[in-house]
Amino acid sequence: MDDGDSPSEDLPPRRDDSAPDLGSPADTVDPAALYRGIELDRRTFIAASIAAGLPYVVRDHRKWASLAGAPATAEQFGDVVEGALVGPAAVPVELMINGASHRLRLEPRVTLLDALRDYAGLTGTKKGCDQGQCGACTVHIGGTRVLSCLTLAMSVRGRPITTVEGLARGTTLHPMQQAFVDHDAFQCGYCTPGQLMSAVALLHEPCGPSASDVRECMSGNICRCGAYPNIVAAVQDVRASHASTHTGPASAPASLRRS
């Protein structure tokens, strides 16, 4: 999908545009900073390392955005007014992602997937087919799993969005993430964020108890590497250790809910 040409003047720069300038000493920190809650992601690391030849670069995209340009004020992000026509140029949109408010400027045609990856800087959600067939982009809206590639960001303004980045609690993995590790439920890992979001949602869906039920409930997530048996094992492991998770929508223990 074409996201348009140049951002308007008060729009924080897109990640891809901003990465090359990251080599200033102020952005270079000790790796131990990772454990103090500062983000280092693979994409930033690679891009910035190439650009500046530095071994470790850390940044917070929101901090970066505020350094690079004046962020829009709160008043500008009131909300899209019901009944009003907006676009096609970018308009202020507030998305609630993993419990945090993200104030973005988006064209109405921007999908939630592109908003997450290219505007909010949350690249955990993956773009596979981008046409609703592979499940790599699965996220939760209000606790329900949907495909972010077929969802316009505009249509989920203000609703609670959970991505794979929202599953862990600090350094403690969600039980499903841990089960995927324990069962070696991936090879290349590209489909894994979507698999995890479906698997976590499945815990409070009316999915039958058997392995074949799990396969059916997970059929919207394609794994090119063929890790399916291990994925099913991981899901069943978590279900078994949190009894009665398959009996109805309201039965999942609070510890398994993330949205």
Binding site: R109, D130, T138
Partner: protein, 333 residues
């Protein structure tokens, strides 16, 4: 995707006026068809009117109500998942629950609405390929499927202009159940029987349904049909999950003392619209509930079938699917 303008509709009346007054506007529901087709430039509305927020103002659009006269009233914005798992649907109309759960995936069913499913576009690969001529996508350019690869295409209801199948499973069940679509347009509200809602292509395959621009689907009513508790949806596809039907059957039988007193039969995957098989129903009623009866009905249902080069197998497949579905229903207690 092309640039679009966007309006979050506040209520039904506002949505209708926003779309009816603009020939380039379209309603946006779950988005599973529209956003997909906009990305590949098969559909290109310039203005989207998002109706998903209306339910906060008008909760009936997202509700399933059992009416006093036994009807089941389903709001337009009810998701395919919620409809499939609703207790009244599971017990009173299992054919509908099974049809919904046989379609797509959990993620897509969570997004897809009842109204959107009624308007689902064909999965004909030529329709989805803007490099190919297609009368449904671009009237007058010709049909690439009739002389091309047509394994997935229709054997019933086609014309020389178009042989694209309707891909919906839900609509096949609704067709069998005599469902009624409730529509509100600029001139007020009206009802359309589900069997009359979709069109066969004829000379205007670009028109999938009888709706006019601006018409807003309010919901679907299913009449009380006590024997529909004894119903079944059987879908045959290339893989065991997440595939469109090669042939599918929605069947309900009213059997008393081994004699069929009432029958509902509709086919999917083989027709240019959800295909109600009334000739087969006429054969079934009054006859003993035996495999021989079912075979005769199946033959009648496919009597007018016209095979293409690659899909002749669908005729025999559909017959066998009918016999198996009716046999399954006949054995239900």
């Amino acid at each position: 995707m092309r640039p679009v303008t966007y309006t979050a509709a506040a209520d039904v009346a506002g949505a209708i006026s926003a779309v009816a007054g603009n020939p380039d506007a379209a309603y946006l529901g779950g988005g599973t068809t529209l956003i997909d087709l906009m990305k590949i430039d098969v559909m290109a509305p310039a203005h989207l009117v998002d109706v998903t927020g209306i339910q906060s103002r008008d909760p009936r659009l997202a509700r399933i109500d059992e009416m006093g006269d036994g009807r089941l009233r389903i709001g337009a914005l009810v998701s395919n998942s919620d409809l499939a798992h609703h207790p009244a649907v599971r017990t009173r109309y299992p054919v509908l629950s099974e049809a919904l759960l046989s379609g797509a995936t959990v993620q897509l069913r969570n997004m897809a609405t009842v109204a959107g499913n009624l308007l689902q576009r064909t999965r004909c690969y030529y329709f989805r390929d803007t490099a190919s001529p297609c009368n449904k996508r671009q009237p007058g350019t010709g049909c690439s499927a009739t002389g091309g690869y047509n394994r997935m295409h229709a054997v019933l209801g086609g014309s020389d202009q178009c042989i694209a199948t309707n891909p919906s499973d839900m609509c096949v069940a609704l067709s069998a159940l005599d469902a009624v679509v409730r529509v509100r347009g600029p001139a007020g509200e009206r009802t359309i029987a589900l069997v009359d809602f979709h069109r066969v292509p004829g000379d205007s395959p670009e028109q999938d349904t009888v709706l006019e621009h601006g018409d807003f689907i309010v919901g679907v009513d299913i009449p009380a049909l006590p024997f529909a508790a004894r119903s079944h949806y059987l879908k045959i596809r290339d893989r065991s999950s997440y595939a469109f039907a090669l042939a599918s059957v929605a069947a309900a039988l009213d059997i008393q003392d081994d004699v069929i007193r009432g029958a509902r039969l509709a086919l999917g995957g083989v027709g240019t619209k959800p295909w109600r098989a009334r000739e087969a129903e006429l054969i079934l009623v009054g006859r003993p509930a035996t495999v021989d009866t079912y075979r005769e009905a199946a033959t009648a249902a496919l009597r007018d079938a016209v095979p293409q080069r690659h899909n002749a197998f669908k005729i025999e497949l559909a017959k066998r699917t009918i016999v198996r579905a009716l046999t399954t229903v006949g054995r239900m207690v």
